[in-house]
């Protein structure tokens, strides 16, 4: 296990507290947990790509970053008035 895989494991473990935040409070307060989890997932993908030496994970990170941005923005717009 190299340093990159340890880093990825730490980042993935840090998603658990984000889940706790996303499980408490009002819908808009929960969304912040989801936003942080998205950031951590992106960096975990980058670390996994380095750790396993597979560039396809870095491609997944790029796609995930773009999709996560659009998805979160959609949630925000929806939570603004309708929910």
């Amino acid at each position: 296990m190299n340093a990159w895989l340890v880093a990825a494991a730490v980042l993935l473990a840090a998603i658990v507290p984000c889940g706790i935040v996303a499980a408490r409070g009002t819908p808009i307060e929960r969304l912040v947990g989801l936003e942080m989890a998205g950031i951590l997932t992106t960096t975990a993908f980058i670390a996994l790509a380095e750790g396993f030496g597979r560039s396809v994970y870095a491609d997944a990170a790029v796609v995930f970053t773009l999709v996560n941005f659009v998805a979160t923005l959609s949630y925000v717009r929806m939570l603004e008035r309708s929910v």
Binding site: T26, M36, T43, A58
Partner: protein
């Protein structure tokens, strides 16, 4: 270990540490607007340092460029999400995101 390895290791450690501390802050803060502050170091500095570590290891090959692209994207667009979230919270709370009359600071 070569100097390049040290640079890579230091950047990676700092990046991960910043993200973990940001998550701890997110968990510790009592309300939404305090929590939103902790998205900035994680998305900006943390991701940039980890992308820097990738670039230090790989130079500007496929993975290095992609990591820097992601860091640049998050650096620019994560604040947009933070702003949009705060704006949505204001609208849910007050019906409008602008300063309310009762919030205005009264002059002397």
């Amino acid at each position: 270990m070569t100097p390049g390895h040290w640079v890579e290791w230091i950047l990676l450690s700092l990046g991960v540490a910043i993200q973990v501390v940001s998550v701890a802050g997110l968990l510790a803060m009592p309300n939404l607007f305090d929590r939103l502050h902790y998205l900035a170091p994680a998305s900006g500095l943390g991701t940039l340092l980890i992308a820097g570590a990738v670039a230090a290891r790989e130079a500007l090959d496929h993975q290095g460029i992609e990591a820097l692209l992601i860091a640049g994207f998050l650096l620019v667009f994560a604040p947009v999400l933070t702003h949009a979230t705060a704006r949505a919270a204001r609208i849910r709370e007050h019906g409008d995101w602008r300063v309310q009359d009762e919030e205005r600071v009264k002059g002397p």
